[in-house]
C-alpha cells in the first residue's frame, strides 16, 4: 500500500520516558477520526539521537522535525500539517527553520558532522517489522556470505576492514573471528555482549531498540564464518524495551526461515537465544558474562585460555559487543576498503557516543574516528548550557578517565585516548562544567566499582575499598598531604594485580583526575575547601545580611526548617540543622546566600 505521508515517532527509551507512546496513540486516534489512517502511515522507530528534544516526531515527505511534542500538539499537527499541508512552525526544531522553508535535519549542526553506519537504520525503520529491515538491504549480507564466500573469505574481509571491538578494549575483530574459526571443537558458540553496564552509555541499547535485525544478521554471518550454529545475546535486565524488540525480531526471523535449520536451503544452520542479566556490572567482562550464561554467579576467570579456545560451556566461543556486530553487515555489503577509508590509521570506521551531562544536545551521536572532542562538544553537542565553562569530558565510564579542557582538540580514537590516560570504553561521553568537583567524580566511580566488584580477587575487593576510603577522607576534609602518594601507589598495585578488566581499570578515574586536576585534590587536603562547591563537609551556607530582603522564600523552601527570620528582616541559617541541599541558594531572588 502506498501512503502520501509517513509520521515517524521516536520510540527509544528516552522519548518513551517522555510519553512518546501516548503521542503514538493520539496520532492513531486522530488519524482514524479524520479517516486518514489509510493515507498516512505511523511508524514507531528507534532512537533519532537528539534525546534532549524528545519526544520527537518527523513527518515525511516534508521532513518536518517536531520537537518536545505533547499529546495535545498532535491534534494541531494533524489538522494543520496533515490535512491542510501547513507545517506547524512553533513545534519545529528551531535549527531546521529557514526563511524560505525548512532545511533537512542532516544540515543541522547536530547531524551535519555525524556519519551513520552502525545507526544506519535507527530512527528510520520500524524495528518490529522485518520487512522494513529487508527493504533496507537487510539479510542481503548474510545471503552474500553463504552463497558466494567461504568462511575464510568472510574472516579475511573483516580483518581487512580494520574493525576493532567497540566494547572498550579495541581488539581486532577479524583476529578474534580467526582464532575462533581455527579453534578445534565439536560445538562452537557465537555470543553478543549487550550487558551495557557503563553508567551514561546507551549506544548498544539504542541499536537493539532501533535495529535489532542487524545484530541478528551479523551473528548469523559470524556463525557461518567461525562454524557455529548457536548464538546467545546477553542483555541487561534494565533494558526491557530492547529485550522485547529483540525477541520480536528473533521470532520474525525464525518465521521467515532466517533462523533455524538449513537456512535458505544452504545447509547452514543457526539459532539464537536471549539471556538476561540480573544487575551485575562485572558480567560485561567476557569470562564473567559466559559464567553468567551458564547460570552461575558472574565471576570472571583467568585468561588464558581465551574464550576463542575455551569459552561458553567449555567450547570455543566468539564474543563481540552490539555495536561491533552493527558494523558487520555493511562491511560485507560495501567491502572492507569502504570501511577502512573512514577513520584514522589505526582506528577505522565510526564510533557511537552517548552524549550526556552538562551539554545542550544530549543524545546519541555517531562520528568518524578522528573527529576532535571540540567538534563533538561545540558543534554537535551545542556547547555547555547556562553560560558555564567546559571543564572535562569523561569517557570509558568507571574504567576510563577524564579529558581536561586543555586537550579539547584531541582527535578521538583508541590510541589517542589511551595515551592521555583515558579510554574509548563503550562510548559514554559525559561532559562536566565548572560546577563539578573532580575529586567527587573520582569518588563516584570508585563507589561504583567497589559496589560492583565481584570479590573474587583481593587486589580489586580490598584495594579499591582502601582507595575509596582515602577519597572519602579527602572529601570530608580530613585529608593529609601523604594521601596522594599513597593513592598513586595503591592505584598501580590494583592495576597490576587484579584478575579481570574491572579491577585492572578501576583506578583509572582516580589516576586521570590526579593527573589533570591535582590542584583540586590539594585544595581539598591543604585548604580544606572544595573549589567547585560540591563536597558537603567542606561547605557552609550563610546569608549575606546586606543583600537579604526578608522575602522568606528560602525559609519556606528549606526542607529541614534550618532557616529563621521574620518578613522583611534578615534571615539566618542554622548550620547545625542545615543539610546543605542548596535549595535556599536556588530560590533566593537576590543571590544573598553564599556557599563557602
Amino acid at each position: 500500500m502506498l501512503f502520501r505521508s509517513h509520521i515517524l515517532i521516536c520510540g527509544g527509551t528516552g522519548c518513551s520516558s517522555s510519553r512518546s507512546k501516548d503521542i503514538f496513540a493520539a496520532f492513531e486516534d486522530g488519524l482514524k477520526t479524520q479517516s486518514l489512517d489509510k493515507e498516512v502511515k505511523l511508524v514507531l522507530t528507534g532512537c533519532f539521537g537528539l534525546c534532549a528534544l524528545g519526544p520527537v516526531v518527523i513527518v515525511y515527505p516534508e521532513g518536518s522535525f517536531y520537537s518536545k511534542v505533547t499529546p495535545d500538539d498532535v491534534r494541531e499537527i494533524i489538522s494543520e500539517h496533515i490535512v491542510k499541508g501547513r507545517i506547524v512552525k512553533r513545534l519545529l526544531y528551531e535549527e531546521t527553520v529557514k526563511q524560505d522553508g525548512i532545511q533537512s535535519l542532516n544540515e543541522t549542526n547536530f547531524y551535519k558532522k555525524q556519519l551513520r553506519v552502525a545507526l544506519k537504520n535507527c530512527g528510520v525503520i520500524n524495528p518490529e517489522n522485518i520487512d522494513e529491515y529487508i527493504a533496507r538491504d537487510g539479510y542481503k549480507a548474510y545471503e552474500k556470505v553463504v552463497t558466494a564466500m567461504t568462511p575464510q573469505q568472510v574472516v579475511d574481509e573483516i580483518k581487512a576492514s580494520g574493525l576493532r571491538g567497540r566494547g572498550g578494549g579495541g581488539f581486532s575483530t577479524g583476529l578474534k573471528w580467526q582464532f575462533t574459526k581455527d579453534a578445534q571443537g565439536d560445538k562452537k558458540f557465537v555470543c553478543c555482549n549487550a550487558d551495557e553496564g557503563d553508567p551514561g552509555a546507551f549506544m548498544d541499547r539504542s541499536v537493539l531498540e532501533g535495529d535489532p535485525h542487524c545484530v541478528i544478521e551479523a551473528m548469523m554471518i559470524a556463525g557461518y564464518a567461525v562454524g557455529s550454529d548457536q548464538g546467545y545475546v546477553y542483555v541487561r535486565a534494565e533494558y526491557p524495551i530492547a529485550v522485547q524488540r529483540l525477541q520480536v525480531a528473533i521470532d520474525q526471523a525464525r518465521e521467515y526461515g532466517l533462523l533455524g535449520k538449513n537456512i535458505l536451503g544452504t545447509g547452514h544452520s543457526f539459532d539464537l537465544e536471549i539471556r538476561l542479566g540480573s544487575g551485575a556490572f562485572v558480567c560485561g567482562e567476557e569470562t564473567a558474562l559466559m559464567t553468567s550464561i551458564e547460570g552461575h554467579r558472574g565471576e570472571p576467570r583467568p585468561r588464558p585460555p581465551f574464550p576463542a579456545i575455551k569459552g561458553l560451556f567449555g567450547k570455543p566461543t566468539l564474543l563481540n559487543n552490539v555495536e561491533t556486530y552493527a558494523n558487520i553487515t555493511q562491511i560485507i555489503l560495501n567491502g572492507s576498503k569502504w570501511f577502512a577509508a573512514m577513520g584514522t590509521e589505526k582506528s577505522k570506521g565510526t564510533k557511537v557516543f552517548a552524549l550526556g551531562g552538562k551539554i545542550a544536545n544530549t543524545g546519541l551521536v555517531e562520528i568518524p574516528m578522528g573527529t576532535t572532542l571540540r567538534e563533538i562538544i561545540e558543534d554537535i553537542g551545542g556547547g555547555i548550557p547556562n553560560g558555564k565553562k567546559f571543564k572535562a569530558a569523561q569517557t570509558g565510564g568507571p574504567s576510563g578517565g577524564c579529558i581536561p579542557a586543555e586537550l579539547i582538540d584531541i582527535k578521538i580514537d583508541y590510541d589517542n585516548l589511551i595515551s592521555i590516560g583515558s579510554m574509548m570504553g563503550s562510548g559514554g561521553l559525559i561532559v562536566m562544567d565548572e560546577d563539578n568537583c573532580m575529586v567527587d567524580i573520582a569518588k563516584f566511580f570508585l563507589e561504583f566499582t567497589v559496589d560492583e566488584s565481584c570479590g573474587k580477587c583481593t587486589p580489586c575487593r580490598i584495594g579499591n575499598k582502601r582507595l575509596l576510603e582515602l577519597l572519602d577522607k579527602i572529601t570530608s576534609g580530613k585529608g593529609e598531604p601523604s594521601d596522594i602518594p599513597k593513592m598513586e601507589e595503591l592505584c598501580q598495585y590494583i592495576k597490576d594485580n587484579s584478575l579481570c578488566g574491572l579491577g585492572q581499570t578501576a583506578p583509572n578515574p582516580v589516576l586521570s583526575t590526579l593527573r589533570y586536576f591535582k590542584d583540586e585534590y590539594i585544595a581539598h587536603i591543604e585548604k580544606k575547601t572544595c573549589p567547585a562547591g560540591v563536597c558537603k563537609a567542606l561547605l557552609n551556607y550563610s546569608v549575606q545580611a546586606d543583600k537579604c530582603i526578608g522575602c522568606t522564600l528560602c525559609k519556606r523552601n528549606c526542607p529541614v526548617a534550618a532557616i529563621s527570620g521574620e518578613v522583611k528582616a534578615v534571615h539566618t541559617i542554622d548550620p547545625a540543622k542545615c543539610i546543605k541541599c542548596g535549595v535556599c541558594m536556588e530560590k533566593c531572588p537576590k543571590k544573598a546566600i553564599v556557599r563557602r
Binding site: 517522555s18 553508567p199 535486565a237 544487575g279 558472574g298 552538562k358
Partner: protein
C-alpha cells in the same frame, strides 16, 4: 520464613510450570529465578528450595546467585518501587540531591521500605535515559528532569 509457603495455588502452579519447562536447558538456573521473581515479586526461601530441588542443584548455589545479582530480592519490596538513577549523567546533574530529598520526604534510607509498605527507595544503575537526566523511575514509569522540589508532587501520584 516458612519452608512450605509457596504463595497462592496459582503462584505455585506457575512456578512448577517454569521449572518443568526449563529442566534440561543449559544454564537454566538464572532464567528460572528471574521468572520466579516475576511471579512472587521476590524470592522467598521456599521458592529457592523448590527451584533447587526441581533443577537438581544445591540450594546454596541458588542462594549464592540470589545474593550476587542486585536484581534478585530476598525480602518483599514496597508497593511502589522508586529507583533513582545513579548513572554518571544523572549524577553530574544532581541525582544525589534528588535521592536525599526522597529519603527526607519518606523518612527512610535508600534500600528501605516505608512502614506502610507503600514505597521502596533504590539507587539504581544507569537507566539509559541520559538525555533526560536526572531521572527516577516509579515502577515502570520514568520521570525526567527531576528536581528535589518535584518530589512531593511525584509521590502524591501514588499516595491515593
Amino acid at each position: 520464613m516458612s519452608c512450605t509457603n509457596l504463595g497462592t495455588p496459582e503462584q505455585e502452579e506457575q512456578l512448577r510450570a517454569v521449572t518443568a519447562s526449563l529442566k534440561g536447558t543449559p544454564g537454566a538456573i538464572m532464567p528460572a529465578m528471574q521468572k520466579a521473581q516475576g511471579i512472587y515479586g521476590y524470592l522467598p526461601f521456599a521458592v529457592q528450595k523448590l527451584i533447587a530441588d526441581d533443577l537438581g542443584v544445591p540450594l546454596e548455589e541458588i542462594y549464592g546467585i540470589a545474593t550476587f545479582y542486585s536484581q534478585f530480592a530476598l525480602v518483599p519490596k514496597g508497593k511502589n518501587r522508586i529507583g533513582v538513577c545513579m548513572g554518571t549523567a544523572c549524577y553530574v546533574k544532581g541525582s544525589a540531591q534528588v535521592l536525599e530529598a526522597l529519603e527526607t520526604n519518606l523518612k527512610i534510607k535508600t534500600g528501605e521500605t516505608t512502614p506502610d509498605g507503600l514505597f521502596t527507595i533504590d539507587a539504581t544503575r544507569c537507566l539509559g535515559c541520559c538525555g533526560l537526566a536526572p531521572v527516577l523511575s516509579v515502577n515502570e514509569h520514568v520521570y525526567g528532569k527531576v528536581t528535589a522540589e518535584k518530589i512531593p508532587e511525584i509521590l502524591n501520584n501514588y499516595r491515593n
